[in-house]
Amino acid sequence: MRSKVVLRRLLRNKQARYGFIALLVLVLLAYVGPYFGNYDWTDKDFLAFMSAPDADHWWGTTSIGQDMYAITLRGMQKSIIIGLLVALISTGLAAIVGAFAGYFGGWVDKMLMWGVDLLLVLPSFLIISIISPQLGQGASWLWFVVLLAAFSWMITSRVVRSMTLAIREREYVLAAVYMGIPRWKIIFRHIVPNLSSLLIIDATLNVSGAIIGEAALSFFGFGIQPPDVSLGTLIADGSRNATGYPWLFAFPAGLLVALVLSVNMIGDGLRDALDPGSNS
């Protein structure tokens, strides 16, 4: 079984192993950690503004008395969810658009690739920055996820397209064609599964890309809107006072880097396990 071989290779890969352990610890910290803290993330301690880390507030407090420990973990939860959702949507979109363009060819291909070119030329930062603060409260962060995903699938879809062009002529695809299986079914049953290595690697690296992208937009106030928090908004708030109150910056920034690093390590390990020929 190929999946078993891949799994064994993955577990033997030191980088991937450390990456998995680190990610597991971080996810546990984000989701289980808040139950051990003394405060809820919505609590405000009016007796402690900007207080340094101590036994009561483990990671210090913010300028309005929020507990840094609770609020940072809450922000990390949001960053993790955003990363996963964006990666899922954008890799799915890349697979579908690339496979359809490559398999159908002709004007479908031309139109889709033209759309890809257009999206690559449009400055994504600007468009997301203009739209996302207008979205208002409530489910706005889901729209933010959609926007981030909409601008991060194009390059992968080009790779998928060129690989589809090669797979299209394989015997098993031709056999399926002669059996009269509809074309969309061939794409989902025979073409996309054969690109799974590429897609899995891409999805993993998209997670870290999305986490950084979210933080980058939130850094300027164009991403997650208050009162909701993410690692990006926390880093933005913290960096303004980073010299005098380092705990405001150090904890969210450190966790962001740790998160991105562990996901990248897994991605690199996956690449080695799924695609031993590559040396990148």
Binding site: V121, L122, S129, Q134, F219, F220, T243, V260
Partner: protein, 325 residues
Amino acid sequence: MGKYLLRRLAINVILVAIAASLAYMLAATTMNPRAAYEGRQPPVPEATIDATLNEYNLNDKVPVIQRYATWAGGVITGDFGKTWNGGSVNAEAGRRIMVSLRLMLIGTLLGFAVGVAVGAWSAVRQYKLSDRLTGVLSFVIMAIPVFVLATLLAIATYNLNQGVGHTLIEYTGEYNPKLAGWDQFVNRLNHLILPTISLSLGLIAYYSRIQRNMMLDVLNQDFVRTAMAKGLRRRTALIKHALRTALIPVATYFAFAFGTMFTGAIFTESIFSWHGMGAWLVDSIHQNDVNSVAAVTFFTAVCVLGAAFLSDVLVAALDPRVRVN
């Protein structure tokens, strides 16, 4: 070849036009330049606001199609309109492009040169301690977003300056306008240190990984062995034969980075208070500056497409196999 170039140019012109028009439409329908005039003390009469906004082609009471037509007519003749407070977008863009260029030229070149050198060096010393060390280091640097890196650098410099007792390294702005002549030149260089580090570290990490992989591909090939067999010194063989071939892919990335250099660095400029193109993008969104947003989009699209073209030309120039096909 001429036909191909013409077709490519035509497609690019259409892409730029669509990108800029979409950005204009989006900005014109969602942004509210009126807000900058409405909340003032003493209050400004509405008729005055309308007249001012009309003059700048920013009045939201005029149908968006009409505003678009005025804007597009201006752009075709090379006039990008007025900023939210009446300045010329063209003049502002010209000034800011130079600021971005002064900021990024050294950083981009340094990132490329050091990145290639580090990559080639660690490929030659594959699996030795130095190779592993640079590998881990670049992996970590690539995981640090530039706004975290820039803030860390600023904190470190602040503490260093506090420790020394005077401003050893500047960490904000482009230059001190009080100085003149040679002093000002030195002052400008001092202001460049931090932004250049924060720009080039990421580039070095990125280029060194690509260069290392390319170099490893080339090192075991026959022509390198032949070069050494015919009596070239190892150093000459590596630099003249191996490195030169392995440079092609990195050079195309570099051409791309060079072309997009004019669009500025959003985070580095904002954090270190340089008023270049990248900071303009953020400022114009915050100030509801519709025409500036459209101009930045137009300019970015031109730069990206120009850079893509530049990197294709460079591949053809460096790699004979591409030219033959």
